[in-house]
Every structure is written in C-alpha cells, then in structure tokens.
Symmetry: C2
Subunit: 444 residues, 2 copies
C-alpha cells in the first residue's frame, strides 16, 4: 500500500504535536506502507509571515491605519484598497512556513530511528501555473518521489507550494496543502490520501452550532465539493475536485487518535473497492457560510451584453461570483444582485465603479450582513420537494429568504446573518440529520 498523509497546521502546531506526527508516520510506515507526508506550516506561522509583510508595508508608508473597518451592514463603498505587496514576493515569503515544518518533521522521524527526507518545491518537481497566491498544480515529478520511496524513505513534502515554469515559487491558496496531498496521491496512484486534522471527520453540520451533529462515515466527492464550497472548512475544494477526477480515496480523520473518520469516495462504492453502503438519506449535511457579501447593481440597462460586462469584469479581477439574481426588467433597466467572497467585496466594488456601464443612473449597494445556508445530498437528485421542504422549515421560524440557488444536489439560501445559526438548526432537525444513519433509514 502507498499512502499519502497530510498533517494540517494544528497537527504540526507545536513540537509536541510534530513528535506525535512523527510517531504516527512511523507507525504507518512500519505497517509496510510506502508513505508520502505533506505538511502545512505550524499554526499561526503563515499569518505571522503575512503580518510581517503587512506591518513592513505600513512601516514604509508611515501608515498607522489598519483594516479596522470591519463594521457590518449595508453601505455604499467609497473604495479604498489597501496596499498589496507584489504577490510573487509574498509567495516567496509565506512558502517558508511549510519548509520549516517539513524539515522539522523529517528530523523528528529520523530521531525516532526512521528514514525520512524532506522535499521542497524544486526538489519535488511540483510545477504549477503562474497564478501567485492561488496557483494550480500542473505536473509532479514522480521519478524523484519513487526514488526516495524505493530507498525506504518517508518522504516529507512542504505543502501549499510549487514552482512556475520560470522557477518562481507559487502558493496554492489557503488550504492548499490539501491539494498538494491529493495531487501527490493522484500522481503516485496512492491507495489512500489521509487528511489528518483536528476534527474527527466531516459532520452533518458544524457541531459548534448544532451539538447533535453526526459524523458522516462516508460522502461522495460531489457532496464534499458542495460542502467545501459552502463553508465546511475541512478540505480545500480544489483538492476534492482533483480527488474526484483521479478517483483518489480521501480519508478525513483525526490526527489525535486512530479512529475511522470520513471516507470521501465516488458514488459507485464497488468501483472504489470498498464495501461502503451508500444508501444515503436525502440530505447529508447542512453548511453555513458567513464569508459572503451581497452586491446589488441598480438600474442596469437591460440590453444584451450589460450583464456580461459586469461579470466579465469581476472574472478578470479574479473575483469568484457565487449566486446571481436578476430581477424582472422595469422601464428597460434591471437590478442585478449577486454574492462574492466577503474579502473581495471592496475590490469588486472598486472594479465595477471603473466600468462605463455603471453610469450615474446605477448605484452599487453592498451588504456584508448576510450568510448562506445550504443543504447537500446526492439523494436530492431523485427526490422532489426538497427545496420546498427547506423553505417551509425556514418559514416556520420566520426566517426571511433573500436569495435562493439550487443545483442537482444542493439548495442554498441567503438570509440575514442574524438568522444563520437558527436556520442551520431548523434544517438539521427538519431533515433528520441528528439521528444516526440507521435511525434515519428507519424514519424515512
């Protein structure tokens, strides 16, 4: 068996935890598995490095203001964008965090009597495109990995980073170490990619919101993608996409004990070689995403191309738009409402203000005080009325729905952020998720 294990920032957050990881690596290796390990930066380290850069920039500009404008509520943005360092240099900077963890873990394994070698970008041959701070992996040099594995080494890789074709260091975005791990597992056709983390697995919803949340023994890739995109911060969404494409069985489990976590596999369990019962209930999980903001553009001329101009501009600026609503046309113009990640709100507004299209007749209205609640489950494909039931459950608690979006396996609604947790609990209970799988079967 060849296994890829990924240890997140908390799992390598202290020297004690690194010691524990090293022991676990050796246990896995001594079971006869070839082992490739991917590590994140020690928790807090990436933020420390980014903060160094931010404080340096403030220092250079004699700028004592910080982004204290965190007040929420609808307001028209006047548009000041903070200084941003050259992203190439930022990537060179923050990529050091994982290098430190990788070396330390390799040292710990060696001190425990194991054979280990740490590999960083240019040694690993982890190539990416040139999108600094958010690069995508293109190729991996398997030869070097196989050579080290054949030599009996536990190969410890610095996650979150790669190199572009010019040899610049790139990073893969927050959570990018997940993607490093899954990509390595795919390249090596590993038998499993274990994501070792500080939670026991994937839950039906956030247990801090709903204490009756249940750990899910298994999920499909599609369900995990929806849950990831909806704020369940267990896995970087791109990692699940790669896992799905290459059919990498992903096992999200605790780094603190060896109990089973949640397997993320394809819908056809017989194909993955695992005897997992996917007789799923209709809804598998409820996710809450507080990190979206809403923008309304009023009085957009209702002619072909206007809408395309708006979303083309946002795409060019690298802003990922989620939900979009266009109201019916009135007097040849229309209002368009959509959501963007909250941290992209200011520059979205600034970008849109630069458009000729946003003339004096249009107004940009933004609202940070929203959240998105989603229910996810492959079972919804063959069950009508899931959305209707969700609306009914929310209505019963007098929760006003601002936006709705549905897909084959998901229903998402935007509500005032004040009602987020209430909505999660209502849907979690309404769809019977607080019961164990067996009880659910019986109840349905």
């Amino acid at each position: 068996m060849l296994v890829v294990q990924k240890y997140g920032g908390t799992s390598v957050g202290t020297l004690e935890r690194i010691h524990a990881c090293a022991k676990r690596c050796l246990d896995t290796s001594r079971q006869g598995h070839g082992l490739v390990v991917v590590v994140s930066a020690m928790s807090g380290e990436t933020n420390r490095l980014i903060s160094l850069s931010n404080r340096l920039i403030s220092q250079v500009h004699g700028d004592q203001t910080t982004q204290s404008d965190e007040g929420k509520g609808p307001y028209v943005v006047s548009g000041r964008v903070g200084h941003r360092p050259h992203q190439r240099e930022l990537d060179q900077l923050v990529s050091t965090g994982e290098k430190v963890s990788a070396s330390l873990l390799a040292i710990a394994i060696q001190e425990l009597g194991g054979k280990a070698i740490s590999l960083v970008g240019h040694q690993l041959g982890m190539m990416t495109d040139g999108s600094f701070t958010n690069a995508r992996i293109t190729t991996i040099d398997r030869e070097r990995l196989h050579r080290e594995l054949d030599a009996g080494h536990i190969v410890v890789c610095a996650g979150f980073q790669g190199l572009d074709r010019e040899g610049n260091i790139t990073t893969l975005g927050r959570g990018g170490s997940d993607t490093s791990a899954v990509a390595l597992a795919a390249a090596l056709q590993a038998d499993a990619c274990e994501i070792l983390t500080d939670v026991d697995g994937v839950y039906t919803t956030d247990p801090r919101i709903e204490p009756r949340a249940q750990k899910l023994p298994h999920l499909t890739y599609e369900e995990m993608i929806e849950l990831s995109s909806l704020g369940a911060k267990v896995l970087q969404i791109r990692s699940v996409e790669i896992a799905m494409k290459h059919r990498v069985p992903v096992h999200v489990r605790s780094s603190l004990h060896t109990g089973e976590g949640t397997w993320i596999v394809s819908e056809q369990p017989q194909q993955s070689g695992r005897a997992i019962n996917l007789q799923t209930p209709i809804v598998r999980g409820v996710a809450l995403d507080r990190n979206e903001a809403k923008i309304t553009v009023t009085n957009v001329a209702d002619i072909p191309g206007s809408i395309a101009t708006i979303f083309g501009k946002l795409a060019n600026d690298g802003v990922v738009v989620d939900m979009i609503i266009q109201n019916a046309s009135r007097n040849g113009s229309t209002d368009v409402t959509f959501t963007v990640p909250e941290q992209d709100l200011d520059r979205s507004i600034e970008g849109l203000q630069a458009l000729d299209l946003i003339s004096s007749t249009s107004e940009l209205i933004s609202d940070r005080a929203i959240c998105k609640i989603s229910i996810v489950g492959v079972g919804m494909r063959t069950h009508a009325g899931v959305a209707a039931k969700a609306f009914e459950l929310l209505g019963r608690d007098n929760i006003n729905i601002q936006m709705v979006s549905t897909s084959e396996i998901k229903v998402s609604v935007v509500v005032h952020e004040r009602y987020g947790e209430l909505a999660v609990r209502a849907l979690h209970e309404g769809f019977g998720l607080h019961q164990s799988a067996g009880e659910q079967q019986a109840a349905s």
Copy 2:
C-alpha cells in the same frame, strides 16, 4: 558601476531596519549603479530555527537536559555528544531565515517605488559542494542575474545558502552571507562589494576592550584573513579568501550612516585603481579569540605516523585544528598540544578516544579556559623582532604565554583567558595602535 551590498542580520533585524535598508538600496540604485543585494536572516532567526530543531530532538528523546555544562577549566572529558539532527534537514530548515529577509526587503523596495526581485538558491543558480552546514560555493548562474539587472531590478538574494548538484539546500556556515556577497561580486566582476554592518569598519582591536581602538581606513586581504581567523567577527574568512583571489574590493561600512568604513584591497593599490596609501605601520591590529580550547594528548608513541593519525582523525571529523605544539620526546613518547574551536571540543575528544593509538598510557586533557591574542600586519614581513617585542610587552604585565605561533604577518599567543583583555591592551598600546595613522607614521 555594479555594486553588491550585503546587509547582516542586525541590519535587517526589525521591520524599521529593513525599511532603512530598502531606502539605502534605492539611493544606491538611483546613483546609477546596478545593485545586487545579499541579506542575512533577521537577527535571532537562525538561532530560533536551530533551537526549534534542538528542542524537538529533546522532545523526541524525552530529554530534559540541555547543554548547561558551560563551566570552564581543565577537565578530562568523559565524552557525551549531544544528538545531532541530519545536517541535510538542518540546512533545509535554517535556510528559510534568509528567504524571509530577501522577500521582505524586495517588498519594501517595491513599496518605495523601486523595482526589485528576490532570488533564492534554485533561482539564483548558486551551486555549492555537498558539505551540509559548511558548503563551498562552486558556480553561480550569471545569466539570470544579468537578465534581472538588465531589466532594471534590484536583485535581492538570500545569503548563506546554495544548492548541491542533487538540488539539496546547503548552507555556508556562520557568516556565510559575506561569502555569498563576495562570490556574487566576483562572478559579476562588480566594482565593489559593500558589507553593511552594525560597526563602522575594521578597528585596530575590539573597542569594547580598548576604547582607544582606531578605525582602519584600509587593510590588505591577507591582514583581513588573519584578523578574521583570529576572532575579529567582521567577515567570514572564506569571503576574504574569495575576494583576494578575484581581487574584489570589499568595503566594510556601517548600515546606519554613509560614512566611509574600511576598504579591504590588495597590497598594490595602483592595481585596484584606488589611491590608497598603504605605507602601513608594522602592526595593524590586535585580535582576541576566546573561542578556542586546548587539548593535550600525553604519552604519544614517538614513532612516525602517530601524530598524523591524530590530526588525520580530527580532519576526517571536520575539526579545524589551529595551533600545534609537540614537546620534546621523553622515553620514546611525547606530549602533543593543540587548539580546536571550543564548540568542537567534545566531539574532538570523543573522536580521539576511538583511536587505538590513544591507549591506556595516553591521557586526553582539555582546557577551555584559554584565549588567543594575535597581532597582525603586513609590515611584519620586513621587520625583525616583532615577536620578541610582543613577548616583552606581555612579560612586562606578567602574562604567562602557553603557546606561540607565528606566520609572516602574524604572531599569536595562547594565554589563560583571565589575561586576554589585559594582553590586548598591552599589545595595542605597545605597538602604538591607539594613535591615528598620521601619528603612527611620525612615531615610527
């Protein structure tokens, strides 16, 4: 003009200092110079990383002992060597410190409106041999540097590190950023290599010991090599060797102001194109080295090869032996005394104990409570009696000399560490070094 500037750890030790370095880089660049910058890790960072590794190793071994055995005095070593991490991993680990500084300095220059790019090992093409923790530079990829310089960039390089032929990260030893800078200056045939540091230049002796110490306006490479090897921690000795070999004019100066520091040039000022008066006094400087320890091997069989075995073993273990004294033979055996760097004492003893040669009749006696004082000056070549005068000056203060070593331009003596500072002051005054250069000329 093409200039290489090196900023040491203190000079980039805080964000304020990095800001100041960035301004200085821009000033240099705006004077029309091409500029390559080499940076050390922020002061304390390398030690922090090494400490992480050491603490991790203690953690793994449940080892609460630290190297608290710093007590000095002659003692027979029982020989316990601490756990040492795999040096490859240690180099991967500590090399991150300079990468952080390089990115931050590039960011600061950019924020000030300049063009800058940071380059790390694989981007810089800084190749070394495979001696982890103490590698030597072999080749540098000039093409990339010229490309960036031609593009108008200030090129900020991570010092102290390179890559071996397998792509492993190597480091160049403490002070290795000096060597990075001089090697880059040599490769690019730069007009000057400026070492920007927290002192104003090279002094006749350590001003903390002798407040009347004078800043030297210039020194020859050979004098600087002797002073470096003798504890004047201004420059890594290897950097001066490279400078001498490639005739790189080195300017040691303060990073806090733009006053002239000390030029280190060849003996032939007309060849270096600088009008420097090298009518030097006999002695140029007095150095104190507290970091040596003395080992005596008693009763070594006085037959061919015994001595070679001892020093061959130490060389194989990578211990640099400095002074060696062999006493006259008694009864077919002899005592050999030599000095090694204090931090290598324990493993030197341990290595020697493994030799068959060190039989039951031999004893290893070590003494940390020594120091070495040296006087250096190219003028000594043509002046007899410098050593005799030095002995006389020390004798006048009742300082007992334990070992003596002389070269063409240097006299070194080992004395009890208690007398180190006294000896420095006696020699500094006795050779008239507290006078300015003009006064010295008149006095001689």
